[in-house]
Symmetry: C2
Subunit: 84 residues, 2 copies
């Protein structure tokens, strides 16, 4: 794996795991009133498109980062809808 | 511009503007207690790395989407630090 792909994976890991603290926070507090529904709705749809784009440009960092981001952001979205 | 790049831009527009509703919500309410500080901190750092990766793989959608995302997420981060 070349250094560019490694850097891409590193960026991908950071932006992907960034959603984890929000998942944990929302899981613990069950409170989402300050979290924007539209943010996570648009984010989930956009991430699906990024995954398709990642396949088309053959970029493993784009594919993997967005796959995991999708799982985490959709969990936050479900929390937001469930616990208003 | 080919259709793959167009799709990338579309995904980029969606994930990028997704942060706007959160900026507006936080601007209005000045309340960020349900928003995770770590989420937006990791997101900002990760997005900077994505921008560098975008330059290295010559992907305009990756560069542009992440540039605007960085502006919006850093605003949310400042709000989070300012209005705990």
């Amino acid at each position: 794996m070349d250094s560019t792909t490694l850097l891409g994976f590193f960026g991908g890991i950071l932006t992907t795991i960034s959603f984890l603290p929000q998942v944990i926070k929302t899981w613990k507090t069950r409170s989402t009133s300050d979290v924007s529904l539209w943010m996570f709705l648009l984010l989930c749809i956009g991430i699906i498109i990024w995954i398709i784009y990642g396949f088309l440009i053959n970029s493993l960092p784009v594919i993997f980062a967005n796959l995991i981001s999708f799982i985490l952001t959709s969990i936050i979205l479900v929390f937001k809808i469930r616990y208003k």
